[in-house]
């Protein structure tokens, strides 16, 4: 596999591991938050942690779109599928996330709701074309990586005059979340947790570029290195972060130069700006309400907004009691510090989103790393 296996090369990994060990000063610790769940999983899937010196720590960030979606929005999606008789199209990872009372889309589907797993917004559009007598709702989630695809679908639906297609929009924005984390009391100089730098998002940055992180790096004096998702990308980025920390620098650097530029994908940005608009505030699981952190469908395309077409009821949504997903997403607790982890909460019986998603930190700990936690034995 060209262009992939090169970035998993064991010899280069050894060389990088040696360089990291040399660069890391033994008299201090380094705490780096990898923002994306994709990084968390690369670290665990390839055993990157095993190649790090003991004073380099990964702090897992909130970059798992399924995980940060608050229970309320999932409950709304379940309501759309069950009570409004629509065909709800969703990305697969969402299916098993427990909502209030541990109801999930997969359970609603087993009870008869018409919920379809799709790979892209285009699949949802095809379903809308094929079923003119049904209402199709696309359950849009994700960071800036997936927003252009949603925008494309809405634009196409408008061009074709599709009247049975709407989008339940839950897209969220990365730079706002990074700013929110760094300004929180958790990471204040005397706070309970520490971050010395960020492994910046990779696919997100392909769209928005590296420029949007510069403000946070400067304001909070934390280095950011945009890192690819392959294990050698992660290791090289760690080395770059250590070098910045050692030199007392805090700037945005780009390790993932084969994909990311400073300006990003301008065409995609323009499309998103046309079809979607900034929400004043949006609730994130774990982070709470974050201003200017999410997108809604813009007024010009309001006809495609599921929140406007369907009367979604008010409800009192609740997380599973004692689930630590919120603290895990903020980076202040490790999955193993949750009382439910590995006991009642496993990927087969998830209590929180972080155990479900293929990008969730709890799932990574359980599925790839529990040999390091003998207490989780079968």
């Amino acid at each position: 596999m060209r262009y992939i296996s090169e970035f998993r090369d064991p010899k280069l990994a050894k060389t990088l591991a040696r360089a990291i060990k040399l660069a890391a000063q033994p008299n201090r610790d380094y705490h780096f938050m990898e923002f994306c769940g994709g990084h968390t999983h690369a670290i665990f899937r390839y055993g990157v942690q095993d190649l790090m010196p003991p004073n380099v720590h990964f702090v897992h960030g909130p970059g798992c779109p399924v995980c940060v979606l608050p229970v309320r929005r999932l409950d709304d999606a379940i309501e759309l599928a069950c009570a409004h008789d629509v065909i709800l199209c969703t990305y697969g990872d969402m299916m098993r996330v427990p909502g209030t009372g541990r109801r999930s889309l997969i359970k609603a589907k087993a009870e008869g709701a018409d919920i379809r797993m799709v790979y892209s917004t285009i699949d949802a559009l095809n379903i809308a074309r094929d079923s003119p007598d049904r209402q199709i709702v696309f359950f849009a989630i994700g960071f800036e990586t997936t927003t252009p695809a949603t925008a494309v679908a809405i634009k196409r639906a408008q061009a074709e005059g599709l009247t049975n297609f709407t989008v339940f929009c839950n897209h969220v924005l990365t730079p706002a979340a990074i700013g929110h984390i760094l300004s929180s009391p958790d990471f204040a100089p005397n706070g309970p947790a520490r971050i010395d730098g960020f492994l910046g998002p990779s696919h997100v940055s392909a769209i928005i570029g590296s420029q949007p992180y510069e403000a946070a790096a400067q304001t909070y004096e934390k280095p950011v290195v945009i890192a690819g998702f392959e294990p050698l990308d992660v290791m090289q980025s760690v080395l770059m972060l250590i070098e910045q920390v050692n030199a007392g620098r805090a700037v945005v650097e780009n390790q993932y130069t084969r994909v990311v530029t400073r300006d990003g994908n301008r065409k995609a940005q323009a499309l998103v700006a046309k079809v979607l608009a900034l929400r004043d505030s949006f609730e994130w699981r774990g982070l709470g309400a974050v201003t200017d952190s999410a997108l809604r469908i813009s007024n010009d395309f309001a006809a495609f907004d599921a929140e406007k077409r369907f009367a979604i009821s008010e409800k009192r949504s609740r997380e599973v009691k004692s689930c630590e997903c919120p603290a895990v997403l903020r980076g202040v607790k490790k999955p193993t510090e949750c009382k439910l982890f590995g006991k009642v909460c496993t990927p087969d019986n998830p209590m929180g989103a972080c155990m479900v998603s293929s990008e969730g930190a709890c799932a990574a700990y359980w599925s790839y790393g529990r040999q390091r936690m003998p207490e989780t034995a079968a």
């Binding site: 596999m1 064991p10 095993d50 779109p65 589907k109 790979y119 990927p347 293929s358 799932a363």
Partner: protein
């Protein structure tokens, strides 16, 4: 399980399915043959050791690159018999047809079954047909039951697995799952990935001739290599350690998995087997496998370990370690 309903994860080949089998089917139908937890039941009738297995086929789409539900319904059951070291002799076939299904398609399927049966030297000696109303089935479901004989000196069972033994696979992992998924989701790749659907009893016969004391065999179908090894570890009460660099995966399958966010180790196979044998015999067994058409890419991929936690672990190519877990639910695509 009071108010719970069957959902798709109960058929996914992961721990949920394993638990359903153990806690519902086995609870009520328990007997010493079933409780061994092998791919097929071994019984002795005077003068003969018989092996019997049954397998339902509900694949969608019915026709996929490299095979169809007809051939698959022969291979699936023949392979369950083969995993016990048996020579398959007879099959029965039950068809559940959906009202409105094209007879021409049904004939294509049955023709394919007959070719597969002839090639495997088994006879379909009894059958049954039921039709359900439109919307109550998905075209055609086929359940086949197979009967085979196994010679006196063959004793393949998960109950014989011990720490220190070697783990081998007969070829590349994940071909079938990726072939079916690519068709199901209309994903088009530059080169067509074909299912590995094949009858394995010929390969098994050659393996047993070279290495009579093979410990056990199993075909990694649903749940893939990872699911099947976890099942073995849980049943035998052992751990397993794999070496990622040794696990064969075809480059196009690996590439498709990267694209779809799948793991070839969790992806289904229909013409591959896992063999566990004493380590002193591993090289002989490997040579016998590689000499057969269906075992050309065979490899020694790991060892059985003494591990009360029953972990299946892997030394990664990069030099770290990780767990190789059961799949939770059905394998799902990447979203970000």
């Amino acid at each position: 399980m009071t108010q719970d309903t069957v959902d798709m994860t109960h058929g996914g080949g992961g721990r949920v399915m394993h638990d359903l089998i153990r806690n519902l089917f086995q609870k009520h139908l328990s007997n010493p043959v079933l409780d061994r937890g092998d791919d097929a039941g071994l019984v002795t009738v005077p003068g003969q050791r018989l092996v019997m297995a049954t397998d339902g086929h509900v694949i969608s789409p019915l026709f996929f690159p490299g095979g169809d539900i007809g051939a698959l319904s022969v291979h699936g059951t023949v392979n369950d018999l083969a995993m016990m070291g048996a020579r398959p002799l007879y099959l029965t076939a039950g068809f559940i047809l959906e009202e409105g299904f094209l007879l021409a398609d049904l004939e294509r399927i049955v023709w394919s079954m007959s070719n597969a049966a002839r090639a495997a030297k088994v006879k379909v000696i009894s059958g049954d047909t039921k039709v359900v109303e439109r919307g109550k089935g998905d075209g055609v479901f086929i359940t086949t039951t197979g009967l085979g004989v196994v010679s006196e000196d063959v004793d393949l069972s998960v109950a014989n697995v011990r720490a220190g033994q070697s783990v081998l696979v007969s070829g590349t992992m994940g071909d079938h799952g990726v072939a079916v998924l690519s068709k199901r989701e209309n994903l088009e790749f530059e080169t067509e990935i074909l299912s590995d659907s094949a009858a394995l009893h010929g390969l098994v016969a050659d393996m047993l001739a070279a290495t009579p004391n093979i410990t056990m065999l199993r075909d990694p179908t649903r749940g893939g290599l990872a699911g099947t090894l976890n099942e073995i570890a849980a049943t035998a009460g052992v751990g397993i350690t794999l070496d990622e660099a040794q696990i064969p995966v075809a480059p196009d399958v690996a590439a498709a998995c990267e694209l779809l966010g799948l793991d070839p180790l969790n992806t289904a196979n229909e013409g591959k087997l896992i063999a566990i044998c004493p380590t002193s015999q591993a090289d002989t067994l490997l040579a016998a496998m590689q000499a057969h058409r269906l075992g050309r890419n065979a490899a020694i991929i790991g060892r059985v370990t003494d591990d009360p936690a029953q972990f299946v672990q892997m030394k990664t190519q990069l030099g770290g370690t990780r767990i190789v877990d059961w799949l939770a639910g059905e394998q799902l695509p990447r979203i970000c």
